[in-house]
Amino acid sequence: MYVLKIFTVTFTAFTLLACNTTRVVKPLSKGEKQVGAGLGGALITFVGVPMPLPLTNVYGAYGLNDRTTAFASLHTTALLFGVFQTDIGVNQNLLKQKKYIPGISVSPIANLMFDKWDGNFSFYPQVDLNAYWNYGKKQHLLFTTFNNWFELRKTKAHNETQTTHWLPSIGVGHQWHGNKLNWQLEAKYIAPNQPNKNIVVDYIGLGDKGTFGLYIGVSRKF
């Protein structure tokens, strides 16, 4: 089985769901720009060792106004495999933070994928709901996020019925604000409504549902 597992881990090395840090949790100021990069993915067992899938991406964000920020990304690991993948969205602030009462924001996102081999196109709508707290002199950011991916296709391979249409994940993260760079660490629990057994990859989850994900990110504002 060991040899088989090497194949399957590689095979799914850029499983696309929830494959990045949360881009923008709190909107930028009007005209403010941000660029960043992320690394990480779902936790799997590889040769007996737990590790996150090494998925990489870069992104940019722009403050349209003080309450709305647009962002777009490029998934660089997918690109290595001939798949152009991007997530394009806006982060909209709903509530401002009031001391211990968190700020609330929502991000509607379009995940788009296109491969250069067979020209297959995929679209996955996503909605993230975020709660955040700025604190300290440097306004570090603690946040929680509730991500929702939606599968719109009704059928899958061999005309079988696609039964899964909602893939949620919940996460908690932190941004450390430095003088130039901001660092982000985020943990997620992906697809807690989905079984994680007998599906080729040894995902690490709670019991037989879902999987943990671990991500790091770095960004800079201008």
């Binding site: 089985m1 040899v3 690109l79 995929s122 391979a157």
Partner: protein, 296 residues
């Protein structure tokens, strides 16, 4: 603006690389010599009871040439039985899985050599390109060519289609289904698949939970679920209910459901994993079921 968008898009696609996961499908291991019974590495089914031993005199290392658009490659196979009886015996062509080489699957070939009694049927197992001592590089196209090369070798020894049984395990379900569904040097009269793939796309979708196209990951299709529609000969399917590599539900059941012939036979083995179905079923139960299917 439209021109700029197209330019940016073309630039993005130009920046993409050509990494594919196809080669990861073939976890071969190169050998300088086959050991068979004395192979010291770990292998499928561990150690078989001594009753399933095969005498050295009944084990024949053979070679033949496989031709594909990638060129010719010398392949190695092992024939269990008497070579001079191929012209009159029924023969099982065994297409092994994706791991290592023939030494890894030696126990499985031995079990088949005991179907209906010791050497009741001849058994030919072979290494695909890049496996064991076989030359060349594995690919989906090449494993089909390699299976046809094995058929040609059997044909050259006097085997006819009316005495050919094809058995595929795991990855071996791909060349087995291919030669049963399409026209090759010989046409089998019966097909057995153990723990078959439905397709590489199903693997992708199992792992992601999304209906993602398989082309995002690999060019290999391994599309048994569609090819089996063209198989009209009797078909026996075996799958472990605890298979954590190729789920019985998303792979095996789909292949079996799509079989459109009239003589399908399904064996869902409770508790069996991907690599231990004959052991969990019980070796004698397994052997008897294969025998009954071949002879009825």
């Amino acid at each position: 603006m439209k021109k700029e968008i197209i330019t940016v898009f073309m630039l993005m696609m130009g920046l993409t690389s050509c990494l594919r996961l196809d080669s990861q499908l073939f976890n071969s291991e190169v050998l300088s010599e086959y050991k068979f019974e004395t192979y010291a590495g770990s292998r499928e089914l561990g150690t078989l009871p001594a009753t399933y031993a095969v005498a050295d005199s009944m084990r024949h290392l053979v070679t033949f040439t496989s031709n594909s658009s990638d060129g010719a490659a010398k392949l190695y196979g092992v024939y269990l039985g008497e070579l001079n009886k191929i012209a009159t015996d029924t023969v099982i062509l065994y297409c092994h899985g994706n791991a290592k080489h023939m030494d890894n699957y030696w126990n499985r070939a031995k079990l088949l050599a005991h179907v209906g009694g010791k050497h009741r049927f001849g058994v030919l197992m072979f290494d695909y390109r890049g496996y064991g001592m076989s030359e060349g590089k594995s690919s989906e196209k090449n494993i089909y060519a390699d299976a046809d090369a094995a058929l040609k070798w059997l044909q050259s020894k006097g085997l006819t289609s009316s005495r050919l049984i094809v058995y595929g395990y795991s990855l071996g379900s791909a060349p087995s289904t291919e030669v049963a569904a399409n026209t090759y040097s010989l046409q089998p009269i019966k097909l057995l698949l153990e723990a078959p793939f439905a397709s590489s796309e199903v693997m992708v979708q199992d792992a992601s939970k999304l209906a993602l196209p398989g082309s995002y990951f690999t060019s290999a299709k391994i599309n048994n679920a569609d090819k089996i529609r063209n198989v009209k000969i009797p078909f026996m399917w075996m799958h472990g209910t605890a298979d954590s590599f190729l789920s019985i539900h998303t792979h095996g059941e789909v292949v079996y459901k799509n079989y459109s012939g009239k003589k399908g036979e399904a064996h869902r083995i409770t508790g069996a994993e991907h690599g231990d179905l004959p052991m969990i079923w019980g070796y004698e139960n397994y052997i008897n079921a294969v025998y009954q299917f071949i002879t009825k």
